[in-house]
């Protein structure tokens, strides 16, 4: 008996000896892999850092407060800003969001709860295809649909084009978020006798709000950076100034609807559009303005992103009481 256990102990010792040897080897392998993944991660981040720093470097030289608050000046004159494009970007993005969000949410709810019905499958397939459609084609489509019929380019047409572009993003993220909310949460509400629509509205959507808002913002951020669909729809307009439209509207005692109509019926510029046009011009002044516009666009999206992140974090901590 003792003999047996002694030999067992020996074999265990030997096993541990080998383990100790291979432990060093594993440790070295682990470190090599760690360094390797670290290098690859830095490589992946490099373009991002490069782009941002280059834009900041080139655009920062021209950037000033005037650039945000002034309308463009005629060629050959010093100074001038891109106020028209900032206003246009905001108008187009908000318009796109207002048009896209309500139907996107409804479609997402339908697809989440009736995922096995024909319509549910169609929604999912349709949004997948739509998100793959090149944005220039969306622009052409809206041109044919709206601009041709209206007879002129307009902010409205641009908004519609952007709405089509962000629609699939919002549908898919919302659907995923609704599916991620625990089933028991819905059951808790249904067990109290709440009808399904009430449950969805006041429990599911509230629980999924963080994800849905994130999805919407991703869509809006993408929309605000789009150029191609706006070429045939919003066109661009260096004389667009909301302040003037509103003040002249108020002076002429026009109603709110009429003012809104005037805002939406004109062609409008946006930051990416301006950037694109300025960059093609042979004047160094315009080239620098183009860089500055790129920086403004980046700042706009960054501010939007950070603001929502803060809002989401506040909401989360409120919900979790920390």
């Amino acid at each position: 008996m003792t003999q047996f256990s002694q030999s067992r102990l020996d074999s265990i010792d030997i096993a541990f000896y080998h383990t100790r040897l291979s432990y060093n080897r594993r440790k070295i392998t682990n470190q090599i892999m760690l360094i390797f993944t670290g290098i690859l991660t830095s490589l992946a981040l490099l373009p991002l850092v490069w782009i941002i720093s280059y834009v900041v470097y080139k655009g920062g030289q021209y950037l000033s407060l005037d650039f945000f608050t002034q309308m463009p000046k005629p060629l050959g004159m010093e100074g001038g800003g891109v106020l028209h494009a900032i206003e246009g970007t905001i108008i187009l993005t908000v318009l796109g969001g207002v048009i896209a969000i309500p139907p996107a949410l409804l479609a997402a709810i339908y697809a989440a709860y009736h995922s096995n019905t024909i319509l549910g499958i169609a929604v999912r397939f349709g949004t997948d295809v739509l998100s793959g459609v090149p944005s220039i084609i969306v622009g052409l489509f809206v041109y044919a649909l709206v601009v041709k019929n209206q007879g002129h380019y307009s902010a409205l047409a641009g908004g519609i084009a952007l709405a089509i572009i962000i629609f699939p993003t919002i549908v898919r993220t919302t659907e995923e978020m609704i599916k991620l909310t625990p089933r028991t949460l819905r059951e808790g509400s249904l067990a109290l006798g709440a009808p399904e629509w009430k449950t969805t509205l006041s429990v599911t959507l509230v629980a999924a709000a963080n994800g849905i808002v994130t999805g919407i913002l991703l869509g809006l951020a993408r929309a605000s950076g789009e150029t191609a669909p706006l070429l045939f729809t919003a066109l661009g307009n260096e004389n667009y100034e909301i302040g003037k439209i509103i003040s002249s509207g108020v002076a002429n005692r026009q109603g709110l609807l009429a003012i809104l109509n005037r805002i939406f019926e004109q062609p409008v510029d946006s930051l990416p559009l301006t950037l694109w046009k300025y960059a093609q011009q042979p004047y160094p002044e315009r080239i620098s303005q183009s860089w500055a516009a790129a920086l403004v666009l980046m700042i706009l999206i960054l501010v939007l992103n950070i603001a929502t992140r803060i809002w989401l974090q506040r909401r989360m901590s409120r919900l979790q009481g920390r």
Binding site: L185, G188, L190, A191, G193, V206, Q320, G321
Partner: protein, 317 residues
């Protein structure tokens, strides 16, 4: 030592201090005592408890009666011919191995199974004598009368106050003063008031697991149901929180009828007055059947059915 016991001890001494004879018990039962000798003393099944199981109609009320109830998911039969009466103001536990249809039966009691597509039922479930599966019955009404608490605490992502007020608001209650009162009463009934009264407008999700579950119980109580279904209410909780839920169930008994499904046999033994044991009839078709239903003391000390005995003694299989 307990106050009650102290006084009794005192009484006990007083009664024994005087040596008068005859004494505490009346021995003048000579004739009947002879008969008593022949009376068989039933071991382990107290006659008193069996009596309470088949009570005279005026003694005990049935809150709900399941009559020959069968349930199908498409072609699969999940429950077959289940009949049992659920006693008012008692705790009824449903135990049995996984997949025997306990939860399905529980969810049939407030028609939560209606959410599952392709469902078909036979038989009846009477709530206070009315068949809840009769055509034209309002499901909302059924669910209001029969509340439910789930396995995992599922507070809504709202404040504690709004969680409780959710149900009453559904039924059109808007007056702030009344809602305040309902919230306080429900939380007090759920033994949570003292812990949360200063943070009613904090999120319900910030509470601990046990508190969340009591919040869910309070939420169910807020619409003043008659019966509360609990689907393994403590399986996600630690032992202390579990104990609190169990004590809470005891205190709710006087006002509500409680039906609990639990995997934890000891829990069923501890908390319930009646126990139903369910099993699948055979491994091929996996249809759930009711094997034994009786007073908990009987099911756990002297079950009438061999399968029940095997299950409660852990020799199942």
């Amino acid at each position: 030592m307990d106050m009650f016991l102290d006084t009794f001890l005192l009484d006990f001494q007083n009664r024994n201090s005087h040596h008068n004879f005859p004494s505490l018990i009346d021995y003048s039962v000579t004739e009947t005592a002879e008969e008593d000798k022949t009376k068989k003393v039933s071991f382990l099944v107290p006659a008193s408890q069996i009596d309470s199981f088949t009570p005279s109609p005026q003694d005990t009320k049935y809150k709900a009666s399941i009559l020959n109830f069968s349930l199908f998911y498409g072609k699969f039969q999940a429950l077959r011919n289940i009949s049992m009466d659920i006693m008012a103001n008692k705790i009824t536990a449903i135990i049995g191995p996984s997949g025997c249809g306990k939860s399905t039966l529980l969810r049939s009691l407030n028609r939560m199974n209606d959410l599952v597509p392709n469902i078909r039922i036979q038989g009846q479930i009477l709530l206070e004598g009315e068949n809840i599966y009769a055509p034209g019955v309002d499901i909302v009404g059924v669910r209001r009368r029969v509340g439910m608490v789930f396995q995992r605490p599922n507070p809504f992502p709202k404040s504690i106050y709004d969680n409780i007020a959710y149900g009453p608001r559904l039924y059109g209650m808007r007056r702030r003063a009344l809602l305040d009162e309902i919230v306080e009463r429900s939380l007090q009934q759920a033994a949570l008031w003292d812990e949360v009264k200063d943070k009613l407008h904090h999120s319900g999700m910030a509470l601990s697991g046990g508190q969340q579950q009591r919040l869910c119980i309070a939420r169910a109580l807020a619409v003043q149901p008659e019966m509360i279904l609990m689907d393994e209410p403590a399986s996600a909780l630690d032992p202390v929180a579990t104990l609190k839920i169990e004590e809470l169930m005891q205190s709710l008994k006087s006002e509500y009828t409680i039906v609990i499904v639990t995997h934890n046999m000891q829990q069923a033994a501890r908390v319930s007055d009646y126990t139903a044991f369910m099993m699948i009839d055979n491994p091929q078709n996996r249809t759930g059947v009711l094997v034994e239903y009786g007073p908990t003391a009987q099911v756990f000390t002297n079950p009438q059915n061999k399968q029940t005995e095997d299950y409660v003694t852990g020799r199942f299989g």
